[in-house]
């Protein structure tokens, strides 16, 4: 996997800070993975435009501002079912609760109830797991999650004293992993 940066995505809520990841080996203007997701679906011409707005609201207001990253809003993904060794200790999760049949899925890594790292996602379609774009996004998210977890374990990054932010040993804003 290429080198990526962990960067702030949204921290204006009272309860939870959201980070995202961005590949750093590409051009500087490259969007983060989460911005790529919403740039694609939160487009007025897209059939899931309204659903993407709902997802944004759930993330920023319900999780970010009102409740924090509680179990109410997350679905554990059984990534062992997709044969992806080695398994991260903490599973990649999906933001949920806008419906089982809600068409969009966005993957994330929940550090604690006050910090969530958002990745990319896609449309939950009927295509088999191996073929769907969502499956590729999931595998990518699993690798992001694994590297982030290892960075925590190795002491490269740590949670701030107030529990709301990720710091690296240099205290830089953009954390390269």
């Amino acid at each position: 996997m290429n080198t990526f940066a962990i960067e702030l995505w949204y921290d204006e809520g009272n309860m939870c800070t959201f980070y995202t990841v961005r590949y750093v080996n590409e051009v500087d203007e490259n969007l983060s993975e989460t911005d790529k997701f919403f740039d694609k679906y939160a487009n007025q011409d897209h059939i899931y435009y309204e659903q993407s707005l709902q997802l944004v609201r759930l993330i920023t207001e319900s999780i970010g501002n009102r409740y924090g990253a509680t179990n109410d809003f997350f679905d554990r993904v059984e990534n062992n079912a997709q044969a992806l060794p080695p398994k991260p200790k903490k599973w990649v999760e999906e933001i949920k609760d806008l419906g089982i049949n809600f068409p969009l899925r966005i993957f994330c890594y929940r550090v604690n109830e006050q910090i969530v790292v958002l990745f990319n996602g896609g449309i939950k379609d009927a295509v088999t797991a191996q073929e769907s774009e969502l499956s590729m996004r999931f595998q990518e998210a699993s690798l992001f999650a694994k590297k982030i977890e290892k960075a925590f374990t190795d002491g490269i990054i740590e949670i701030s004293n107030d529990g709301r932010y990720i710091n690296d040993f240099n205290n830089t804003e953009e954390i390269i992993i």
Partner: protein, 135 residues
Amino acid sequence: MRSKVLDKILKNTPKEVEIFVDLYADLVVKINQILKEKGITKKDLADKMDKQPSEISKWLGGDHNFTLKSLAKLSAELGEDLIMVKPSSKSYNFVDGEVRTVHTFVTYRQKKRIDHHCEIRHININQGEEVSHVS
């Protein structure tokens, strides 16, 4: 701090979407909380409501557009208010000397006739007068 893409989305999100998601999230969190506090499993709830556990999972998983009827049934089974609607005030408080009127519309339909009359009643609340106008 917010990303530029997010900033654009938040500025273009209609109020109705915000209200819908906020209400939905509040409901799901509240129902989960009540179940946890009262030690009720989804299976217990399904039995009480004479429904399949899978159907309850759909309700709690958000795969259900709650109707007033389904919310009332859930409220009854859980023994908790799930939604509170602030009752509208029945009394009108006007500034002294100010006159307001309330218009009521009454329709009279005559047998075997298609046309009907509409009466507009103008009620002067302050003085209790009623003036009717039939068109």
